[in-house]
């Protein structure tokens, strides 16, 4: 039975279950000392002076570093999401003369242990000259707003437009134009493990070793080399076990420069484990967008035009992802709809808050909320059922592949799928009409129950390429070296399944190596649900080359034409004469330099492959949720929740559905609970888990998760579409629709805080 498609147990689990998995905080090096980062307490100020003399006198303190110790500091470059102009607002790893958000690194203290390092932090005196603060994106664009970066007028480092058809003309022809402003709040990935690094400089050979980089190990390897001037060949990055990523962890952050720098500077291994209060100020935040929308429809519900203006609050600097979320929002705002006339003007705006990056389903979660809300509003005004309105506008299977037209910075040709079919399947599964009846009955009793739909198209598997090398070891085992990373999602298991099937061996004979720059020369990491799509496809390519080599070796040894040999159960045998066969270990011996060279073969059984594509697959699906809201307290109870997603092909259904469930819980957190709030002075309000509210087991339902594989992607040999983001992406949309439905109001912002809901109810009750 093939491994692909079956829910094999994860090979990652046993050490993690026994508590012996090594996360970065579990790494101990001889002579290791501990760093703490002194962070700005001001949202916008000039750095007048830093006096660390008292800290340096504290016993146990190794030293203090500030920008003055790091001549020639460069800014951290964008690795993706480059939009012209953004490069003017990049961040140096440590503040030089000015701070632009609370939490910006100002100094690094290194001490015997973290306790002493924190004692020392308190002894450093920083003199700030306060500058005016702006925390609101709209205000930041105003003429009187303080300017964050001298080179960036209006605090808008970049803006761009997406245009298809003729929105103006189309809007004029509409029977109904809905105009509304929508907001999604700042929140973010916040993995349970905070960030951390251990860096060690070996003076004997000039090697700098860093444990902890993840997600984009190879990219960060290059960036560190560029910023530090140390050649990549003298840097070794090692990815340990990782406690969750979700887009936030593993980008090149200021500390990714500072900690290796400190290790080299002090000639001692340096460990830095971010604490949670730093984490909630320093980790990339995400999701804060404001949409000014116009949606135009005909009476029959046909959507004729969509016009959008999006403000993307980037915080104080442009980080490594550049404009990825806003690019995704502007491209994917149309989601599953056929909209012939579309215009979007997107603005990147700087404010005195923590810089932003991606969070699982970047830009799409926000856009789905906006579009799906607009559809429900339109349905209400036109007297149509929300499901019916969607049916009338969804791209049909016969229109696939569907091209949304030219979109700057984003590929938007949907590959395959039956979007309306998936909606029908989801509605059937949940018994949509019965749910609606239940809601009507409940309302008759004075209970506010509502049902909400959120449809989505995701995008995943971004290229441009991925690397894999497959090798057959001396014991006959197969090793895959791959350029993807693991952030806890089970990628090693999925890749093992692919390799085991391709090589016809037991999964126990496959090992996956990733995240180690000494063993894997190239990689593009794990983001945007790309690992299985890209890594898996590259692995398949390398396996095929290895098989070819095995056949050639066997053919020479057995003196049988390769066409008369077959691969099965870890051996190559003569067709029809299985006794004439060689196992992988024997073939590995034949590939040793002596025999191989004698036979005219390149020694070794090791083949590389790159999988490259400029296309992307588009998974799609539906959320349906039933809620009850307490009209007096604004408390929401989720009674039932379905996520259905077509993922093209399931390598491991258990992992796919686990991704959906995990994504949903995060989506519920984003829709109801999580928020990075700031006061007017730019002081962050959510600096502990008492205020940054991640959902507990009591806040999320058991849920129903159904993944389908009806439409494999034509863009890769496996047909996979990526499955990391379907659980989260329409959660804000579906929940907002359900709560709107329950209360008979129109929600236009997230999160669904109880006070906000009561305001909406009031506004509705007061005519």
């Amino acid at each position: 039975m093939p491994y692909i498609g079956s829910s094999v147990k994860r090979i990652e689990d046993v050490p993690l279950l026994r508590g012996i998995g090594k996360y970065v905080g579990d790494i101990r090096r001889p002579g290791m000392v501990h760093a703490a980062v002194l962070r700005s307490t001001r949202a916008h100020a000039r750095l007048a002076a830093i006096d660390a003399s008292a800290a340096l006198k504290l016993p146990g303190v190794v030293g203090v570093l500030t920008a003055a110790d790091m001549p020639g500091l460069k800014t951290i470059p964008m690795r993706t999401g480059q939009i012209d102009g953004l490069e003017r607002s990049q961040q140096t790893p440590i503040a030089t003369d000015r701070v632009r958000y609370v939490g910006e690194p100002v100094a690094v203290l290194v001490a015997r242990d973290r306790y002493v390092a924190e004692d020392a932090l308190e002894l450093v005196e920083v003199t700030y000259e306060e500058l005016p603060v702006v925390t609101d994106a709209h205000a930041a664009m105003g003429p009187d707003a303080p300017r964050l970066h001298d080179a960036v007028p209006r605090n808008v480092p970049a803006d761009f437009e997406v245009e298809r058809g003729d929105v103006k003309r189309a809007l004029a022809e509409c029977d109904l134009v809905i105009e509304e402003t929508f907001e999604t709040q700042r929140h973010g990935a916040v993995p349970l493990e905070t960030r951390g690094l251990v860096a060690e400089f070996d003076e004997t050979n000039g090697m700098l070793t860093v444990w902890g980089p993840t997600k984009m190990t190879h990219t960060n390897w290059r960036i560190l080399s560029e910023l530090s001037g140390i050649p990549q060949s003298a840097i070794h990055f090692i990815e340990p076990a990782v406690g969750g990523g979700f887009g936030g962890r593993g980008e090149f952050y200021p500390e990714d420069f500072l900690i290796p720098f400190a290790a080299k500077h002090f000639r001692q291994p340096v460990c830095w484990i971010e604490d949670r209060s730093e984490n909630l100020k320093a980790l990339n935040q995400s999701r804060e967008q404001t949409y000014r929308m116009r949606l135009g429809l005909r009476k029959d519900g046909t959507v004729l035009a969509m016009d959008a203006e999006i403000l993307f609050d980037m915080g104080g600097y442009t980080r490594t992802h550049g404009g990825v979320p806003i690019v995704a929002s502007s491209a994917m705002l149309r989601g599953p709809l056929r909209i012939e006339n579309y215009h979007c003007h997107a603005y990147c705006v700087l404010t005195n808050k923590t810089p932003v990056g991606t969070y699982r389903s970047p830009g799409r979660y926000e856009a789905n909320f906006v579009r799906e809300r607009l559809l429900d509003m339109a349905a209400h005004r036109l007297g149509l059922d929300p499901a019916e309105l969607r049916r009338r506008n969804m791209i049909r299977p016969e229109e696939m592949p569907y091209d949304h037209g030219k979109t700057p910075y984003h590929y938007t040709i949907y590959d395959s799928g039956d979007l309306p079919g998936q909606l029908e399947a989801a509605l059937d599964h949940m018994g949509y009409e019965e749910l609606q009846q239940r809601c009507t009955d409940a309302r008759a009793e004075g209970r506010a129950m509502g049902v909400g739909i959120g449809c989505f198209v995701e995008t995943s598997g971004i290229g441009p390429w991925e690397y894999a090398r497959v090798e057959v070891g001396n014991n006959g085992g197969v090793v895959l070296y791959c350029g993807i990373n693991s952030v806890g999602q089970g990628i090693a298991t999925a890749l093992s399944q692919i390799v085991a099937d391709e090589m016809c061996v037991s999964i126990d004979d496959v090992r996956v190596v990733h995240g180690d720059t000494a063993k894997v020369p190239y990689g593009n990491g794990s983001n945007a649900s790309r690992s299985t799509v890209m890594g898996g496809s590259a692995a398949v390519g390398a396996c095929r080359k290895v098989k070819d080599k095995l056949l050639r070796l066997a053919s020479a040894e057995l003196e049988i034409d390769a066409g008369d040999l077959e691969l099965a159960d870890g051996r190559i045998s003569a067709k029809g004469a299985p006794e004439r066969s060689l196992d992988f270990a024997a073939l590995a011996r034949l590939a040793l330099p002596g025999p191989a060279l004698a036979q005219g073969f390149t020694p070794g059984i090791s083949e590389e492959d790159f999988f490259a594509t400029d296309k992307r697959p588009f998974p799609y699906g539906v959320h349906v949720v039933l809620v009850e809201v307490d009209r007096e307290t604004g408390m929401i109870e989720i009674l039932d929740y379905l996520v259905m997603e077509d993922v093209g092909r399931k390598i491991n259904p258990m992992i796919v559905e686990g991704q959906m469930a995990g994504g949903l819980a995060q989506g519920i957190g984003g829709a109801l609970l999580e928020e990075f709030a700031y006061d007017e002075d730019g002081q962050p309000q959510s600096t502990s888990f008492m205020d940054y509210l991640m959902p507990t087991a009591m806040d999320v339902p058991q849920g129903q998760f159904i993944s389908t594989e009806d439409f494999p992607s034509p863009h890769n040999p496996l047909g996979v579409k990526g499955a990391g983001e379907g659980g989260i992406t329409a959660a804000g949309a579906a929940l907002a629709n359900a709560v709107s439905n329950a209360l008979g109001v129109e929600i236009t912002r997230l999160p669904l805080k109880p006070g906000y809901l009561l305001e909406l109810v009031d506004a509705k009750d007061k005519p």
Partner: protein, 170 residues
Amino acid sequence: MSTRDITVRVNGAERHGEAEPRKLLSDFIRDDLGLTGTHVGCEHGVCGACTVLLNGDPVRSCLMFAVQANGAEIDTVEGLAPDADTLHPLQEKFQERHGLQCGFCTPGILLTARALLRENPHPGDTEIREWISGNLCRCTGYTNIVTAIREAAGLMSEEEAAAASAPRKD
């Protein structure tokens, strides 16, 4: 700062250490005892990653000073499995039911679940959720964790029943 001697029984074995009074029990377990399976996710009592059993009860090891544990019995995740080749039924079911992804929350949740099943060998889903509500998991959405605990409870009572009905040797 002066240090104090600390003696604890950890996973059944007596261990000694020396620590400043301010050293958190979580750090003592991880750094002084070398048991890094106990994780630290917030150090202010919300996430539950640092959960250990203190005299049998699940507690936050980040909200205790190591000196306070002097003389106590502590169980950490490293002591859950009966031996190096066998998993505890909870661990088995977590693997089978995909109750973990990144595994960072897992040690804390396993220990909370262990204590729950001692108190109530047959908890319903709501009770399971109430108990583990003190352990944040960012990856799984809890669905498979609840299933794994429920099924482990079943497995453990089957095993107990089997052990009870097996002929006694002594």
